[in-house]
C-alpha cells in the first residue's frame, strides 16, 4: 500500500509538472482600501453557524485583512492576512502578493463533524 502511494505521488508530480502553464504575477487593477463588514458563515444548506466580522485596512503599505467568526458555542476562528499591493520592479505594474496569512487566536472546535482542528502559527512581524 505504501509503495503504491509512493508511486502515485511520483507520477502525480510528473503529471503536474507537464500540465502547468507559465503564469505571471497578478497585476493589481483594483486597489483595496479600508472596509468593514459583518459576514455570516453557514452550512451548505444555508443554516447559520457563526457570526463574522470583516476588517480591512492599509497600514505601512500593506493591506491587512482580519476575518473573525464567532460560533454559537463560543468558539472563535480568526484569519489574519497581509498583502503587498504596491509597484514592484516595473513602476507601471502593481502586483498583488500575499505575504502571510493564518493566525488563529483561539481554539476552533466547530459544531459539525469532520472539523476539529485549529492553527496556532504566529506570523512573523
Amino acid at each position: 500500500m505504501l509503495a503504491t502511494r509512493k508511486l502515485v505521488t511520483v507520477f502525480s508530480i510528473l503529471a503536474a509538472g507537464m500540465i502547468v502553464a507559465p503564469v505571471y504575477a497578478l497585476k493589481v487593477t483594483e486597489l483595496a482600501a479600508a472596509s468593514h463588514g459583518y459576514p455570516g458563515l453557514c452550512d451548505i444548506n444555508g443554516k447559520k453557524l457563526a457570526d463574522g466580522e470583516f476588517r480591512q485596512w492599509v497600514e505601512n503599505n500593506r493591506l491587512h485583512v482580519v476575518i473573525t467568526y464567532k460560533f454559537s458555542a463560543g468558539e472563535v476562528y480568526e484569519e489574519h492576512s497581509q498583502f503587498r499591493q504596491e509597484p514592484r520592479a516595473d513602476p507601471g505594474k502593481m502586483v498583488l502578493e500575499r505575504i502571510e496569512t493564518w493566525k488563529v487566536a483561539a481554539r476552533v472546535r466547530c459544531g459539525f463533524s469532520g472539523w476539529n482542528r485549529h492553527r496556532t502559527h504566529q506570523p512573523r512581524s
Binding site: R5, P39, I44, G46, T101, G114
Partner: protein
C-alpha cells in the same frame, strides 16, 4: 502560512500533532483563503471575457500524507447568479476555482470546486464563498456578505 518564508503549519488537535512543511511560493500568484477573493477582483474583467487563468493555491490535504500542499487551480467565470441572503435578493458573478489534480491522484482524492461570487454590477466586491472547510473531504460551508438567519442557494440569473 508564512508566504515570505514559504512555510505552512497546521495543528491537528484530534491527533495532538503539528504539521509543518516548506512550500514553494510563487510571489504574486500563490494565494489561500480570502486572498482568492482579492485576486478575483483583479482578474474579473479578464474572466468575464471568457479567459481562464491559472494560479497556485495553498491548501491542506490528507493525500498522500496529511499536510499543506500547493496545487495549480484554474479560475473561470461560471455565470451570473441571483441569491437570497439576509432577506434580500442579490446578484453576483460566480467564479469557479478548480483544482488541477493529476489524473492518477483523482482515484484517491476528490477536491470539490470552490465558488466565489462577486457583486454585480461593478465595482466588484465579495458577495459569497462556498467550499470545503479545510480538507477536500470536509463538509462544504458558505460565507455570505450579509449575515442572516437563512441563506438561499444561488440560482442562474440568465446573465
Amino acid at each position: 502560512m508564512d508566504f515570505l518564508a514559504g512555510i505552512a503549519t497546521a495543528h491537528i488537535s484530534q491527533d495532538h500533532k503539528d504539521v509543518s512543511k516548506r512550500i514553494k511560493i510563487e510571489p504574486g500568484r500563490t494565494f489561500a483563503g480570502f486572498g482568492f477573493s482579492l485576486a478575483l477582483s483583479n482578474l474579473r474583467k479578464r474572466l468575464l471575457h471568457g479567459e481562464q487563468v491559472q494560479l497556485k493555491a495553498v491548501g491542506f490535504s490528507d493525500f498522500p500524507t496529511l499536510g499543506p500542499q500547493v496545487v495549480t487551480v484554474t479560475i473561470s467565470h461560471g455565470g451570473l447568479d441571483r441569491m437570497k441572503m439576509s432577506g434580500r435578493s442579490v446578484k453576483g458573478d460566480r467564479f469557479i476555482i478548480h483544482s488541477e489534480i493529476p489524473f492518477i491522484a483523482n482515484f484517491f482524492v476528490n477536491v470539490p470546486d470552490t465558488k466565489v461570487w462577486l457583486t454585480n454590477p461593478a465595482p466588484a466586491g465579495f458577495l459569497r464563498w462556498e467550499g470545503p472547510i479545510v480538507l477536500p473531504n470536509d463538509p462544504l460551508i458558505r460565507v455570505d456578505l450579509l449575515s442572516g438567519t437563512k441563506s438561499g442557494p444561488a440560482e442562474s440569473a440568465g446573465g
